[in-house]
Every structure is written in structure tokens, then in C-alpha cells.
Amino acid sequence: MIRNVPPLSPEARAFLDREREVPPLSPAARARSMARARAAILASGSARRAFTVSPSSKLRWAIAASVLGVASAAAGASAYRFRDRLAVGPKTPAAISTAAPAPARTSGRSRSSTPSAPVAAAPVPSATDDGITAEPAAVSVADVRVQVPGSALHRASRPVTGEDELRLLRRARAAVAEGDFEGALRPIAEHARRFPDGTLAEEREALRVKSLSTLGQTAEARRAASSFQRRFPNSVLVRVVEQLPTRE
């Protein structure tokens, strides 16, 4: 079959050969990337611990759901009888259905529920659920709740993930790339509020120094730079921060 593929011309081969070697990353880039990889593992581990319940908790949830269901049914029936006694309006199916108990929780893991653990899950079709740290019987809080995608409950119960962090930092980076340093300070501030000690706090603070110094807010840039150096003395970005103009 390879016979049908004409070989590359010598010029093209020579041209491609210049790219054949895989150059090593700089030590700084390598350190940064490995630190992020390890941080993601730690973050997903803690997120999973924070958002999973043990089998005994699962039982408690089931009991609570049953009690809630019975209580709802009783309340619904009482309301229905009370309204019947007062003869308020006709008994329509719709009116009856409003007093019906809440739908029972579906058993097992719902595929429509928000995933609880992965941090910045990559869109790889062949990727499966991460079973590395999950116990077989563990279920996430998101699974326990009855969720309608897009509903307020669905949104409210969505666990905060590393992807949220990354999204904010991406906005900040994009703004910096476009030269919109004021615009960059908004996602930076939001990130600082939501993830003060997040995985990407180091990069966030470096972006803050860069934005402030470029905006000419030198006093604030100097303070941010000092704070960065104190907080991340071994950061690979210290050199970058030091080179940013923070003196008038």
C-alpha cells in the first residue's frame, strides 16, 4: 500500500529534518508544567474527597430522601383535603399534581449529572470516568440531588472545579494578550476572591503585577510584586516579575 504514496522530494525531506529533533523544554517551563500536573492531581483528590459521601452517608441520604418523600406526600394530601373542605376552585388534575410528592431519586449514577471530580476534564472521546480515587460505592453529592440540567438547583449544585479556575485565568491571559490590562484585572480580582489559594494563584499574581505595571499603577504594582516575591519565593515567575517596571 505504501507503494501508492510517493516519497518526499529530497528538498522536502531536508526541510522536514530540521524539525525532526524534539528540543528539550527549558527547565522553567518543565518545572511549571510538572507543578501544574501534580497540583491538578492533588486538587482533584481533595475535590473528590470534598464532594463524595461514604456508603453510610449514602444510607443516611436515602433515609432522608424517603422521609422527605413521605412528608411531602402527607403535606400534599392534607393540603388537598383542606382545599376540598373549603371548596376553593375546581379540582383540576394540574392542581392535584402540584401537591404530589417530589419525584423519587433515581438510583445509580446519572449520566446527566455534573461530574464531580475531574479538574479541567479534557474533551477526549475515549476518556472514561476517573476511577483512580473513587471508591466503588461512593456517590457524589451531585448524583444524590435530583437535577434538571439548566435548572437553578443544577447550577447551584455544580461543584467548583479546576476548570472554573482555569477559565478565569484564561480570560485574564486573553485580556493581557489583547493589551486590555484593565479588563484583565477583573477576572484576576474574581479569581482572587473565589480561589485565593487556588492552583493558579501564582500565575494570577504574576498577571496582576504585569497588568498594574503596564497600566502605570506603579505603587500598586510594586506592592503586588513584593507580595508575589514573599508568597512565591521559589516561583519560576519571580524573574519575570522582577523584570517588570514597578518603579516610577
Binding site: I2, V5, A40, G45, P118, P123, I132
Partner: protein, 173 residues
């Protein structure tokens, strides 16, 4: 706290991190975005680590992941305006020789970028990474015949790009 499979995955990623970064660049990811996408490659690798057969070479597997992530990124990027950011590592100017090598490689990457991504992936794996075609087809999830067909087209496109580049050089000189 990490578990043994996490450690194995981190070690494998660390061994191939240069390759991951370079592959993403060859697939058209800009320097300012390669760090984030490499992180996505790592997370996807970790997610699918249990499926990976350690008796098989890791690079084609990694390339498959990188290709899917780069493709998704390319689709997303079409909707956004992307501008280059100063890379922290590029703040210090490299020596002349290194700079020249870097520029040469940049030209090769620019030429590769003219080849559509699905075909470029086959070309890079076959002509740069010297991978066997059956592994390429498996990594990209395409039939063997399709892989050969893409290679044929990709080579033709690269040759055309090169001819154009050489003509431009002639005109300038």
C-alpha cells in the same frame, strides 16, 4: 495524596513532556497556549491511564490525545481572536545560533500549518516521528487505508507549500 497509578502517569508524562509540547506546536498550537493544552493532555492521559496498555509505545497514544485536544482547540480558536502573549521563557534572548535554529524550526512549523490538521497529524507521525502506519491509524482511530491516503495528500500539500516558500525567497533575493 496520590495513588500509585497517578505516580506512574506523572512519571510517564514527565518522560515525554518534551514530546507533548513539541507535538502540540507541530499541530499548530501557539506558544502562549501550549502550556494549557499540555495540561489538558496530561489530564486526559490520567483519565484514560487505566486503558493504556504499557506494552505498547506511549508516544502514539499521547499523540492521539494531543491530536484530539488540538483539534478541539482549533475549532474553539476559530471563534476567538488569538494574539500572542510574551512568553516568560522568551524574555532572555537566546544566543545567535539558538535563535537561528529556532527561526528555522518556526518556518517548518509555519509550512506544516498549511497542511490541514487531520492530514498533518499523519505526516508528523510518519515522517517526523517515524511511527509505523498501523500504530498511526490506531492512535488516530482511522482505517489504515485512510491513513495512507492522508499521508499522500499531506506530502503533496507540503511539497506545494515548500515550492511557494522557495519562490518567495527567490523573489526577495
Amino acid at each position: 495524596m496520590t495513588v500509585p497509578s497517578d505516580e506512574a502517569c506523572v512519571e510517564a508524562y514527565q518522560r515525554e513532556i518534551d514530546y507533548v509540547f513539541r507535538t502540540l506546536r507541530r499541530l499548530g498550537v501557539s506558544p502562549s497556549e501550549v502550556d494549557d493544552l499540555a495540561q489538558e493532555v496530561f489530564l486526559a492521559l490520567r483519565q484514560s491511564w487505566q486503558e493504556y496498555d504499557p506494552s505498547r509505545p506511549l508516544r502514539p497514544y499521547l499523540f492521539g490525545i494531543a491530536f484530539r485536544i488540538a483539534s478541539t482547540h482549533q475549532r474553539r480558536r476559530r471563534r476567538e481572536v488569538v494574539l500572542a502573549v510574551v512568553e516568560p521563557d522568551e524574555l532572555s534572548a537566546p544566543p545567535d545560533q539558538a535563535l537561528q535554529a529556532k527561526q528555522t524550526r518556526a518556518v517548518v512549523l509555519a509550512a506544516l500549518e498549511k497542511v490541514p490538521l487531520p492530514r498533518r497529524a499523519v505526516l508528523v507521525m510518519y515522517d517526523l516521528d517515524d511511527m509505523p502506519m498501523d500504530q498511526i491509524a490506531a492512535a488516530l482511530g482511522i482505517p489504515l487505508f485512510t491513513a495512507y491516503s492522508r499521508l499522500r495528500k499531506a506530502r503533496r500539500e507540503l511539497e506545494a507549500v515548500l515550492r511557494r516558500l522557495l519562490r518567495e525567497v527567490d523573489v526577495r533575493s
